[in-house]
Symmetry: none
Subunit: 243 residues, 2 copies
DNA sequence: TGCTGTATCTGGTATAGACAACTAGACGGA
DNA sequence: TCCGTCTAGTTGTCTATACCAGATACAGCA
């Protein structure tokens, strides 16, 4: 219950009480919870205090309100949203498959104009270009090219490219990897993709370009991937945003 | 300023005013904004009303508070995350294009086994099946099929299908639309898609299947879309999640 | 039968005031 | 110089009250 003498704010105690009832399944998704006036009377507190508790829980996604009808328990929150910056390795593990990779190319080259712009570096700057065929449970899943400015990953060698690049790179960065932008489009396999992936030319593939940024806004890398359409689907969970 | 006679809530007007000041750079990140009492006095409104406005903006990430010190302008938000449930109409508007649609098919049919499972209904239940060609700036962009259980959208007619379905449906639902799951894959156009989209057979298309759910967890609709690969790319912004 | 008020629920908005907890700077004494 | 104390200002919490607007059920009328 709610203890008025407690140093904890009353609205906070009420939040805990309601969350507990949800955890204990006394309240399940879709249930109508008592009205604000009812809570206020039961606990001998003001309706505005009840509103503060309920508003917080609405903001956190536990409840939703409907004017004229009441306040209801929301669906169980989706655990880990899938819009996080992940690597191929993480992605495949999450899907229950064993990731591995075969190195195709490892070079240090001068960056092209278009790529320089995306990475925010000078046109003549050096970048690592690492191309790998990515396998899941031993089968070719995608061909992936990473482009990383040399000055952000000094000392990277072919050895590192056999495993997860990030194990080496992450701890040498000036600030942590923070966000990424992915552009997904549909295409068909040309010569190089069809060879690398072992599919006929003209087979559908999913092209994903990922720009990754550090917390301070520095572009960190560019990843261009071509996934076999018959083996890979991209899944996203989206939430409503209350405006 | 704030107009007490306006039908818009006072707290909402104040939110807009503060957001405008931030947009116009009158307030920049790190700035201390006027105190709650100051706002209240200036506008002749109650401090609690000011608090409601500021609390909303804090929740939305525009401001942050420090007890005993004041309220400050937050760092600019990265971008509007795209993990929200959007319709074709919203999506195209956000991309600066004018959405429209051409109705292809409007039927009430018995649901198939596979679809019934996804919608959580009985095998013989009736569903609306609405197929439309979606245009952006007058050009075919996608062909989209919506499948909605009849009992969740009683009274839907062809008329509604010409505009945004949701305008009609949203306010009749037992609880609000809350989250969605999208599965994205690459494919090539077959007979029907090539006709509807005006592209040769075998052209790449982006297939997106969206399952939409209400806040109480009820499956609400299934949307299957085929987008022209030459006109449409799917963009996602992802943030690191601190575990 | 079918429509239409109306009473009475609900959450939404707004007020005025009170005290608590915290911060920062001014002031004065050891 | 250093360290408490005081004070004025801030946000945080809470109360009691009022009226508005949407939803719903039902009585009563056409």
């Amino acid at each position: 219950m709610v203890d008025k003498q407690s140093p904890l704010p009353i609205y906070f105690q009420l939040e805990e009480e309601i969350k507990n009832r949800i955890d204990r399944k006394e309240l399940v998704p879709g249930d109508l919870i008592p009205s604000e006036r009812e809570f206020a009377e039961q606990h001998g507190i003001s309706r505005m205090t009840v509103r503060q508790a309920i508003s917080d829980l609405v903001n956190e996604g536990y409840l939703y309100r409907q004017k004229g009808k009441g306040t209801f328990v929301a669906r169980k929150k989706i655990e880990q949203p899938l819009h996080r910056v992940t690597s191929f390795t993480e992605d495949m593990k999450a899907r229950g498959m064993k990731p591995s990779s075969r190195l195709v190319r490892f070079e240090v080259v001068a960056v092209s104009d278009k790529t320089a712009e995306e990475l925010g570096v000078q046109t003549s700057d050096l970048v690592y270009e690492i191309q790998r065929v990515r396998l899941a449970d031993g089968l070719p899943m995608a061909v992936e090219t990473n482009i990383i400015p040399v000055h952000l990953a000094e000392g990277l060698t072919e050895e590192h490219a056999h495993g997860s690049l990030y194990d080496y790179v992450a701890e040498r960065l000036p600030s942590p990897i923070d966000y990424a932008r992915q552009v997904i489009e549909s295409s068909v396999a040309h010569e190089s993709e069809s060879e690398a992936l072992g599919i006929p030319k003209g087979s559908p593939i999913l092209l994903i370009q990922q720009n990754t940024y550090l917390a301070d806004g520095t572009p960190f890398e560019l990843v261009k991937s071509a996934y076999r359409a018959d083996r890979y689907k991209f899944i996203i969970n989206m939430h409503r945003i209350s405006d």
